[in-house]
Structures are given as structure tokens and as C-alpha cells.
Amino acid sequence: MNAPVDATDLATLSMTEAADAIARGEITASALLEACLARIEAHDGKVNSFIRLDREEAREAAAAADKARAAGKPLGPLHGVPVAHKDMYYRAGKVSTCGSKIRRDFVPTVTATVLERLDAAGAIDLGTLNMAEFAQNPTGHNAHFGDCHNPWNLPYCTGGSSSGSGASVAARFVTAALGSDTGGSIRLPASLCGVTGLKPTQTRVSRFGVMPLSFSADNVGPLVRTARDAARFLRVVAGHDPKDPTSAREPVADYEAALTGDIRGLRIAVPQQWFFDGADTVVVDAFEAALEVLKARGATVERISVPSLRAVTAYGALLSRVEGAAIHANWMRGRPGDYSIHLSARLFGGYAIPGHLYVEALSRRGPVLRQFCTEAFGRFDLVATPTLRTRVPTLAETDIDADPQNWSRFMAVSANTRPFNYLGLPVVSIPCGFDDRGLPIGLQLAGRPFAEARVLRAADAFQRDTDWHRRVPPLG
């Protein structure tokens, strides 16, 4: 539970601060919503984070939430807090564009289980957020709905594919947003926009009613301000769903209860391969400073060798490309011109990968995960890396549609996040500094399968001693 609030701008409250303040009667859901709407009106013309803003429906829901509290009705853990979702979570009867021209008018007949769980917890749905077309880029470009812009510096990438999710939480338009993560699509916008993003363990959260990209690697998770927000959000949305047979039957922990601030004896490993290849000095410096914060709280840090990373990165490069190519094949044959240039180009490469190598990548996934866990978690509790190994790039220098020569820069954005999707591990990105151009830097912490509580405990401990996550973009 958070302390009583004394905020002059309600929109700056974190999700849990706001929910707790509403529950205590210190603020109303309607006042909080109006504060968020005012910021959206003032600034989203520049940021472009929303695709559809359900303003009046949200007002009605907030009024009903205040009425329910006044009547003494039971309140859910997210009662009255404004949230929004990447425009790929289906709500029956509402358009879900998936950020695309092809599905610009798509109206699903089912509602995503995660949306139903957020509704049941009392969250106020503010609408749908900008995203990469079909969740297929790590930068935030979108040729159909306009690029999403980084609230910290508008010409720079937000990260993707959950671009609007990262930007809207950073800009204090909403207290929380749903993202999805197949190669880094929650953690990258979290890192680049300076917020907290959690990719849970593969199978932890139901994917029913969620646009598919790669069934082997798709994950549902939150972008929020704090680790505490992520803990509460995850408890609401996690758990087995009969509508998604692949969802885990693993019990859902009280993640928030694990946030004790005590990380004495926590053993953190820093892999020396891969994650620092070509890294910018300013990023490495911020990462090292973040490790010192964790050490000051009693954690230990050791540099290790992880030979299995070679297999992780090679096989991980195959899965989502092949699966994405397969599910887009009809449109790639019949409507190739309706994709943006970078997406049709990326999908096209997926058809070149031989089937036996795809099966090998799937079949080696279990053994490689075991090997990675032995190497990385045999003597350690968490793995730490930078989320993005370089400074935040601009939209222009990663724009493949404008110049195919930007391909390598574009693909490099997800280099540090993608390995954890192949491994299926829980991983959080939290803000740990700013680069010399004023753009955020992210720290990535990963744990064993289903170790979300431990991952979030470390993230929360870090945030108790730092204020990077409290800083607000100067949108003017």
C-alpha cells in the first residue's frame, strides 16, 4: 500500500498510488481521469500515442466508479485508474486496427481475457494506443496512423512495438498500459520512454483475444511507472485461462507482497557475451551505476560467461520471423502493397528460412533454456543487462521505408531484448539514467521461469533509491 497522496497534478500519480488514493477517498476517479484527459488534449497532438480515445465512455465509467465507492461497494485492486491498451487487444464490437491498414476496420467478436480481467479489477479503459503495424517493429514507426514520438524528445524513437503504450505512460496520459512483447516490444518502449515494463514468463498471461504475431514468443504485460504498479497489474491479469490452453496453471503469487526492499544476498550475474557488443559508453556507465545502487542494498554482482547465448540468439532470430511469415502469407500474396515497406520486407525474409531449421529452433528451445539456466542461474538469482545497448536512435535514422540502408540500425534495436523471448524468461526493464541527449536508459533484470516476484523485488528495491522513474518529460 502506498502512502497518502498530496499531488498537485493527479496525472503524475503512479497506478498504485492513484488506486490506493481512490480507495481511501483522497481523490476521485473522475478527477484523476480529467487530469489525464487534460494532458492528452494538451500534448498528444505531438506524441501521437492514441489511435482511439474513448473519452465519454471513460467519463461514464469513472463516474460509476466514484458512485460505487461512495456506496461502500467492494473495490477492485485497480478501481478507478485510467488505463489504455495497444490496439491489438480485442474488445467485442470495437475496432481493433492492429496498427495496420489491412485491419483498419476489423471489429472482433470476442474480448481479450486480459481486458476482461482489467475491467473486473475496476480499471477505466481510455481507449486504444498506437503501435507498430501488426506489432512488427522495435522502433515505433507507423506508416498508417503516424509515427509515435518519444515524449522526452519528439524526433526520437519511442521503441516498439508497444510505442503508444510506452509514450502514453511516460507522458502521464494514463497510469498504465497493456503492451505485448515478442522480441522486446514491452521492454524497448519502457526503456526508450523511461517507464517500467514487464515481460512475464512465457505462458504466464492469457493471450486469448490478442492479435497473434508469433505463437511461440508472444507475451502480454504492462507498461507502468513503478515495479509496484507492475506487481499489482500482473496479479490482476496473470493465471490460467481455459480460453487459452497454452496459459500456465502455475499459481499466481502476491507479487506486491514480495516488494520488501530487502535484496541482501541477492546474486546478480552480468553476461559478458553479446549484450555489450558495440554498446555506447553512456549506456554502459549508467548500467554500471545502476549495479552500484543494487550492491549498496546488499546484492552481489559477478561477470559471467554464458556460452549458450550463441544458440539463443541464432535460434531466437528464426522463430518469430517464420511464424509471422506464415500467418501473414495470404495478405502477403494478395495485398502486399497494403503493408508498410519495412514490414513487408521483414516478413518476406521469413519465407526464406528452411522448415527444418525452424523445427530445430523449436526443438532446441527446451535444452537451450536448461543450459542457459545452469550457466546463468546456477549460482545467481538474476541476470542484468542494458535493455538497449546504444543511445536512443531517431525515427529518421531507423526509417527503412525512407532508406533500406537503415536496416542494420533498425534490427539492432532489439538485440538485447530478443534473447529472453526465446528463453521465455520473466524480465523487467526499469529506467536507470539518461543519455547525453536527454533520452532515457533502461536496466533489464531477468530471472528464472515464474520468478516474477524476485525480479520485481529487485526492481522495486532499485526504485526506492533512485528517482529516474519519477521524472516527467518536459512536454511544454
Partner: protein, 68 residues
């Protein structure tokens, strides 16, 4: 300089999948494959005869944290 891998790959995709090369960026993307091919070549021989995709879910359970 475009890799000599590109044109035959485009032909193979057309034959097997019925998908045409959509643009210059797609050609450029195919040129990006040789480093990945080298990595996959280095992994040859690691697949065991009994390996199968379901081993991943089993590994998630086997490797989970014992005392959260």
C-alpha cells in the same frame, strides 16, 4: 554489393510460397542473412534425435524458481 544469395532466394520463395519480393528493402533484408547462416552452421549437430518442441514447456517447469 548484393549477396549472390538474394536472387535464388527470391525465386525459391516465389516457387514455394507464392509471395513476390515486395520492394528494395526486402532484397536488402535478404542480404542480411549470411551472418545468421554462419551462426546456424556453427550449431549443426547439436539437435538430438529425440529433441522436440514440447521440451520447452517441460524446461520452464523444471527450471522454475524453487523458493520464490
Amino acid at each position: 554489393m548484393e549477396s549472390d544469395l538474394v536472387q535464388p532466394t527470391i525465386e525459391r520463395i516465389r516457387r514455394w510460397s507464392g509471395v513476390e519480393c515486395p520492394n528494395a528493402a526486402a532484397r536488402h533484408g535478404l542480404s542480411d542473412f549470411p551472418p545468421l547462416l554462419a551462426e546456424l552452421e556453427a550449431l549443426r549437430g547439436t539437435l538430438v534425435f529425440e529433441d522436440e518442441p514440447s521440451s520447452f514447456e517441460a524446461a520452464l517447469q523444471a527450471e522454475k524458481e524453487k523458493t520464490p
